[in-house]
């Protein structure tokens, strides 16, 4: 099943798109795995996703740690630490 990936802030800018639909291989189990796999998609992806420790993620709109499992997820967002308010 294809997975919707959303990017925000500088992650979005570096990748050059806000959203894409992907079908990762079955060995992509966690958010961290997904980030590593997405990094291979383009030079922009590689640059945006080079330092996972600077990234945060949400699985189906819930904030999660990067070791969270993504099995069954439909929408995954990847972004820098939030700076609202």
């Amino acid at each position: 099943m294809p997975l919707t990936i959303l990017y925000f802030a500088w992650v979005r800018e570096r990748i050059g798109q806000a959203e894409e639909s992907v079908t990762p291989p079955t060995d992509v189990v966690s958010v961290a795995d997904l980030i590593g796999w997405l990094a291979g998609r383009s030079a922009g992806h590689a640059e945006a996703l080079a330092e996972p420790e600077r990234l945060r993620a949400a699985v189906d709109q819930n904030f999660v740690a990067l070791d969270a499992v993504i099995t069954g997820a439909r929408e995954i967002a990847i972004f820098p630490p939030v700076t609202g308010g």
Partner: protein, 149 residues
């Protein structure tokens, strides 16, 4: 009563305040955050995660309502481009007693800073940069560690 609004329209402070008042409300505390020009910022842009943002703000307001005796909690956040002096965020808490309103108000803004998906981009003299998260915000949010998960 919880009210959440994420919008690119200017924040109507007087109107939002008036919504909080009622015959049984004894105290309304508010916090308003504004775009500051003092470090040379001439434009600020707020990006958010539609849907997830509103859900996060609703969770924060509900947590405040469970923790303190509130009659109303409101969180309004502006998104899109704005300029110095303009309001970015407004949180309001209404309660029969003042410390419930004051503490809940501080909680709402501290939690919003770390738990809601917004990102700020500042422009100074044509040069844009994404604002870095502040460690102090995590510290401020941590002092409210919820009694329940």
């Amino acid at each position: 009563m919880i009210r959440i609004l994420v919008s690119s329209d200017p924040i109507d402070l007087a109107g939002e305040m008036a919504r909080m008042e009622g015959d049984d409300v004894g105290a309304v505390a508010s916090f308003c955050g504004l775009v500051r020009a003092d470090d040379g910022v001439d434009r600020l842009e707020l990006e958010h995660y539609p849907g997830a943002t509103e859900a996060a703000l609703d969770r924060i307001a509900r947590a405040a309502s469970e923790r303190w005796s509130l009659q109303a909690a409101t969180i309004i956040h502006r998104v899109g481009p704005m300029h110095p002096g303009e309001r970015i965020v407004l949180v309001l808490a209404a309660a029969p007693h003042r410390h419930d309103a004051l503490d809940a108000c501080a909680y709402l803004i501290d939690r919003l800073k770390t738990d809601a998906p917004f990102w700020k981009r500042e422009t100074r003299g044509g040069e844009a940069r994404w604002v870095e998260a502040r460690h102090g915000d995590a510290v401020a949010a941590a002092r409210w560690t919820d009694p329940t998960p």
